[in-house]
């Protein structure tokens, strides 16, 4: 069974009297452990597709299935449960909780999943070590560089052993060196853990790392992408 199945999905945004067709009948499948980039110009629908896969939004038509389950039929709380257990997120603006330090930010998904205290500690330190930030555990986001914050976000995304990590423009606010470092970490963790990584990006540096590239244009899949 494919990990993710997107079946003829459409999404329309209405702002006032203006309708924007973000996705038009998109169909796609993704296997476990993929390292895939969704690429396309602004307005191509890549972020919208990522949000639908991530159960942050629901399509107007079609279905999104995760491990065979149609998530479009789930309630808001059920979708929250699914996100908590199976999906990690990385955003271009790092998206750390500003009042929590690095340790606490990585710990947050584990707390939401009611993981025991000793297991939480072990998992958080393991992840901080994996992203090279063991010595920054007590630092808050405003005490860290952009690159360090993004690495904490990567650690947080992987904390609950998710099925997939969805990253929306993860390198957009990073310089070349930090962007490369972030991608190398995600590639390594993808290989070590088997967690799928799906990126929405128009950064060629990210595309260069992807094993599969799906091209989107005007809300449709332009090419389904072979593994790169």
């Amino acid at each position: 069974m494919d990990a993710i199945q997107i079946e003829n999905v459409s999404k329309v945004y209405r702002i006032g009297e203006v309708e924007t067709h973000a996705l038009k009948g998109v169909s796609l499948t993704m296997a476990e452990g993929e390292f895939t980039a969704l690429v396309g110009p602004s307005g191509s629908g890549k972020t919208t597709l990522l949000q639908l896969i991530g159960c942050l939004d629901k399509p107007d038509q079609g279905a999104v299935k995760i491990k065979g389950k149609d998530v479009t039929r789930l309630s808001a709380n059920q979708r929250a449960d699914l996100r908590r257990e199976e999906i990690g997120f990385i955003f271009q603006f790092f998206a750390l909780v500003p009042v929590l330090n690095a340790y606490e930010n990585v710990e947050l998904p584990l707390l939401l999943n009611s993981v025991k205290s000793s297991e939480r500690r072990e998992r958080v330190m393991e992840l901080l070590k994996a992203v090279g930030l063991s010595d920054r555990a007590k630092h808050r986001p405003d005490q860290m560089s952009g690159g360090e914050q993004q690495r904490v976000a990567i650690a947080r995304a992987l904390a609950p052993h998710p099925l997939m990590v969805l990253a929306d423009e993860p390198t957009a606010n990073l310089d070349t060196e930090n962007g490369k470092q972030a991608m190398e970490i995600m590639q390594r963790l993808n290989q070590e853990t088997g967690t799928a990584f799906i990126f929405a990006t128009h950064d060629p540096r990210v595309v260069a790392f992807a094993r599969r590239v799906v091209k989107l244009r005007d809300g449709r899949v332009d090419s389904n992408g072979a593994q790169a």
Partner: protein, 410 residues
């Protein structure tokens, strides 16, 4: 997710905007502190006035003739008590009674060469401890002895307004028990000051024997005034002293007008409480809504991680509760300081203002505050409840945000 972690995020978020949190906390604190201080003042004034009335005018319990009316001050035999000494002895036999004595009341006009004043004549047992407060308040001259046939005691305020001093002669005129006008010349034996201007300016004291002779009451008394060791025993004592031909009234009956007036006044004061707490609620709503609007994206992140709407709601309620509790704590400190100042220093209003209140309100020339634990508890709880209620809308608003909308926010 444990409540402790939600509280951690809530508490630390208050620290993110220290000035805003500080001013909001101050609003809660000042609002509550003001209400506690005002409440302490009113509580003190009411308690003080009631206590003054009891110790000077009504006592805890009175035994009266069945037909005696205080607003008429009748001297007719049928309205007076024929056997006051027996009733005093009966009262004193009760362990709850601290002091009991007969009193004869009458309306008199005090005349000087060029002025006159309508007063209440009090014929009293000058040896009774019932009158210790007045005895202690003698500021000039002497306290009359039981056999003093000429001496009267008047208030210093009255003496000053009439230009009288100790040793001077005054003329008292009244309608006696036969219904005929009568008059007598008396000597100002002493001047007293109780600190209650309305009382000091309306009473003239003389020994009971002389008052009975002057009024023609011959051995009778208007009432027996009784002070108790404990105010709460009034009903019990009143029941024990009831009998045919007499009416027994407690301090509650005797101060009914005052108590009812104060109850009406308190309901208006409750409106002030409500207005102040409402203003505090509006400030809380404003602060929390600003916090929600500033943290749209953060709400989106938390929702994306799998935090449910209910948990986000709890987080904001905890933020409000923390702010509220800290504000209440500071408000209580302000209230304690305010009431402590009023309880020790008071607010002097002067004799004229105190006298304006009239004889139904035994107001002192200085208003003192009083600690009332119930008031502190009730107002603090009310403030906390209002703060929580005020936070429901912002918390609900934050909880209902769709993650994708929140993440789009700047």
């Amino acid at each position: 997710m444990p409540l402790s972690k939600l509280w951690t995020i809530a508490y630390r978020d208050l620290g993110r905007h220290r000035r805003r949190s500080g001013f909001t906390l101050l609003a809660v604190a000042l609002g509550l502190g003001l209400l506690l201080t005002l409440d302490g003042l009113i509580s003190g004034v009411v308690a003080d006035s009631l206590a003054n009335s009891i110790r000077l005018r009504t006592g805890h319990v009175q035994i009266r003739g069945a037909s005696f009316q205080e607003d008429q001050l009748s001297l007719q035999s049928k309205d007076l008590l024929p056997n006051p000494d027996e009733l005093v002895a009966k009262a004193k036999a009760l362990s709850e009674v601290k002091a009991a004595a007969p009193v004869l009341w009458s309306s008199v006009i005090l005349n000087t060469i060029d002025q006159s004043a309508g007063l209440q004549l009090m014929g009293i047992d000058t040896t009774s401890s019932l009158y210790d407060p007045i005895r202690a308040g003698v500021v000039a001259g002497t306290w009359p002895t039981p056999d003093d046939r000429e001496g009267v005691l008047i208030g210093r305020g009255l003496a000053d307004s009439l230009g009288l001093g100790v040793g001077q002669k005054v003329n008292l005129t009244l309608v006696n028990s036969d219904g005929r006008p009568d008059e007598g010349t008396f000597t100002v034996r002493g001047l007293f000051s109780t600190g209650i201007p309305s009382y000091d300016q309306s009473a003239v004291f003389m020994p009971l024997d002389k008052a009975q002779a002057f009024t023609g009451a011959s051995g009778r008394a208007s009432l027996i005034m009784i002070l108790l060791n404990n105010q709460n025993d009034a009903n019990k004592v009143a029941a024990a002293l009831s009998g045919p031909g007499v009416t027994v009234l407690t301090w509650s009956d005797l101060n009914k007008f005052f108590v009812e007036t104060m109850a009406s006044a308190m309901s208006f004061y409750a409106i002030l409480d409500f207005i102040v707490i409402l203003i505090v609620a509006v400030i809380i709503v404003n602060t929390l809504l600003m916090s929600v609007f500033e943290r749209f994206r953060e709400m989106g992140i938390l929702a994306a991680l799998g935090m449910k709407g209910g948990q986000i709601r709890v987080m904001f309620l905890l933020e409000a509760a923390t702010l509220g509790l800290m504000g209440i704590a500071v408000g209580i400190i302000i209230g304690v300081a305010g009431v402590a100042y009023l309880a020790t220093t008071g607010i002097p209003i002067g004799d004229k203002m105190a006298a304006v209140a009239g004889s139904n309100f035994a107001l002192s020339a200085t208003m003192y505050g009083r600690f009332d634990l119930n008031s502190f508890i009730n107002l603090s709880l009310a403030t906390l409840i209002v703060v929580i209620l005020a936070s429901l809308y912002p918390a609900w608003y934050a909880a209902r945000l769709e993650p994708v909308e929140a993440l789009r926010a700047d």
